[in-house]
Amino acid sequence: MFIADYSAKNIYDEMFSSEGYPRKSYDFVKTKMESLGGIELVKRSSSAERALMSLGITFTLYGDGGEQERIMPFDVIPRIVPSEEWISLEKGLKQRIQALNLFLTDIYGEGKILKDKIIPRDLIESSSGYLKQCIGIKPPKDIWIHITGTDLVRDGAGAFHVLEDNLRCPSGVSYVLENREVMKRTFPELFEKLNIRQVYDYPYHLRSMLENLTDVVDPVIAVWTPGVFNSAYYEHSFLAQKMGVYLVEGSDLIVENHKVYMKTTKGLRKVDVIYRRIDDTFMDQSSFRPDSLLGVKGIFEAFKRGNVALANAPGTGVADDKVIYSYVPKIIKYYLGEDPIIPNVPTYLCSEEADLKFVLDNIHNLVVKAANGAGGYGMIIGPKASKQEQEDFKELVKADPRNYIAQPVLNLSTVPTLIADKIESRHVDLRPFILYGKDIYVMPGGLTRVALRKGSLVVNSSQGGGSKDTWVLG
């Protein structure tokens, strides 16, 4: 049952080579899964789902038949990254974060990279993630991006590329940790046999990274959530719990004398470090959007004066603008004098006249994305779109070329995935999480997102994607 119908032709499959042989890293897993057989696999899969349901790792769907609570779709066949590949990815990610951090320090500081004309100044200034209010700010320890989730994909030849950087509030790490717990219960025999690098200490790394941001002894740390209705609320409370820190909402906080306090049963208590999971411009009505209902008045000024540390620092969004993304190889070269270890996906900038013409003429072969879109919104996959959709999207691009980039349609790699009671190939990407504290820490593995619809390339959970446990073999 297991391999018989499985086909991985004309594509890079994580488990099978193009000749149909299992790759070395997957040898044991493949043999084990085969010996378990389909029925057992389905059985274990549903018991894993039950466990997730009990743990309440769910999201709510509203639709016909009222409210439905679902677990995040979770596939029990792991995605394996061999250690030699991981070593190079780890290096590449550290290099990238280091360079991006220097870049942020520079553009909110001296602006050397602009003066040297490596990046056009107007691209920075027109980026919606660029905050003028941050000019001249010096965040604690000169670190801007403390937590990063970088999306990686493989091309047809199996080489990893960075698809995008998520430098603001990247989510999904709680799924990595919970998936792992469930997998250990589901396939203990695989964990006994294979040397799978653990991920459970991520919250400790996260906490010590946050502690590093202040000189206060025994600092008060809080995770700031927009609230229980936010789709990532589960993750916010999960991280607060695992770190043993407070989870606060905007209404729990108040700024007095440019210091941040939270309202407790014993009165006000000063907060030293905030891991905020709320967008920059919603953070503070007095500095950014005045209509924000989630923000805390005066918190940005408190941050500017060094009275509270914010992770990630405000203003980092400029570096994950998809237009700026295309300059990252140059950014790495400029600040570190090195070539990028993990390449970008080739990218066309619609703000460039020649690129724009190419994009408009070839939209049927390209993926076109809004520079600040996320979650699979504001994009079009040319080959999958109708003629009309293509034409409509062209109009959007023409109206605001600065806001769009285009990339070739990547044939994302596939991993065998249990669909009902069959094993089929599904496309995946990979989001490792990187913490920048005293050192740069890369969690071994990350979130493998899987496009559950046959042939689909869209892995976002907001678009019906699921996830898999990612194993880095040590």
Binding site: G56, K263, T264, T265
Partner: protein, 322 residues
């Protein structure tokens, strides 16, 4: 501890306690109805009086039939106090304070909620297909509800630090429990005996017994008293110092929790919530069951509820709003 969190912990526990009490009320009444040979008119309505939701009930249902009352108190989505709604709200509260409680507490509560939700779905589907029915393993369902509440208590007792979160849990739990004990006692007020000659009859006795069972006090009462007597029962449920559902015991627990919350050792000024419980506890100490009956039990129970509301509002003022 965040004020918002304290408030959610408080309510989470109130809702669980409420669900437990409701399940016992219904079950005891159901058992009682099975014991009675002939139909006692309006046996189920007192239950709705007891919960204080009679107006809503009358708006939603045309008759106080067993099926209607049970449905109203277990699964009715429009009744904010039905077991289903209590569980939904307890879980919603737990979700917002997830980082303050243990995973095992959350799991117990979450599984409990899913159980009630699934059972409700089957019940409603069945009711639609076959007409309303009582014979759907009601007793077993209610017993699972009680056991789940108790595993929630046990689990919190054993898996979280007995610090502020814990003490706010106790405040919520005992305030709700005291409230429900007054309502249980008051139930007898709403149960009309067929005639005045029935006072002291088997039926009267059965009703008092079931009232004890509703407070889960049957066995402990029997250890202390020899016969089923209204005065003794009231004394036990109001003034007993060691039975965990008596008013006295509940207030005493609240006083202790409040002391720990405000940290007597730190020499902090006492607060109004503390003062209110202490004053009331001292009053209870000075009372005896005779004076209570002289005043009239029903009136006295009303009085307790006013005191409880007063304590409750002081807690809200002192800790939850700032």
């Amino acid at each position: 501890m965040l004020s918002r969190v304290a408030e959610s912990v408080f309510w989470m526990n109130r809702y669980i306690e409420r669900a437990e009490n409701y399940s016992r009320f219904i079950d005891v009444n159901h058992q009682l109805s099975l014991d009675l040979n002939e139909e006692v008119p309006n046996q189920w309505l007192p239950l709705v009086h007891t919960t204080g939701d009679i107006e809503l009930f009358e708006k939603r249902y045309s008759s106080p039939s067993p099926v209607n009352v049970i449905r109203f108190m277990t699964f009715d989505e429009e009744n904010p106090n039905s077991i289903f709604q209590c569980l939904s709200r307890a879980r919603e509260n737990a979700r917002t304070i997830r980082e303050n409680i243990s995973t095992s507490m959350w799991e117990v509560l979450n599984e409990f909620y899913l159980f009630v939700k699934d059972y409700r779905k089957v019940y409603l589907e069945n009711a639609e297909a076959h007409g309303d029915t009582l014979s759907m393993g009601l007793s077993e369902f209610l017993s699972t509800v009680r056991k789940s509440c108790q595993s929630f208590y046990g689990c919190s007792d054993a898996t979280i630090s007995h610090d502020e979160v814990w003490n706010f849990s106790l405040l919520g739990r005992f305030l709700e429990r005291a409230d429900k004990t007054t309502r249980i006692l008051d139930m007898k007020y709403f149960i009309l005996l067929p005639s005045v000659h029935d006072v002291g009859s088997t039926l009267d006795l059965l009703q008092w017994l079931s009232l004890l069972k509703s407070a889960s006090a049957h066995e402990m009462y029997n250890q202390k008293y020899k016969r089923v007597d209204p005065t003794d029962i009231a004394e036990f449920l109001i003034l007993n110092e060691t039975f965990p559902r008596s008013i006295f015991f509940c207030i005493q627990e609240m006083q202790e929790a409040l002391e720990k919350i405000s940290g007597i050792k730190e020499g902090l000024p006492r607060n109004l919530a503390q003062d209110a419980t202490t004053v009331y506890l001292n009053r209870l100490r000075s009372e005896n069951i005779k004076s209570i009956f002289d005043k009239g039990l029903h009136e006295y129970l009303d009085d307790i509820q006013i005191e409880l509301n007063h304590i409750g509002s002081k807690i809200v003022e002192r800790f939850f709003t700032n």
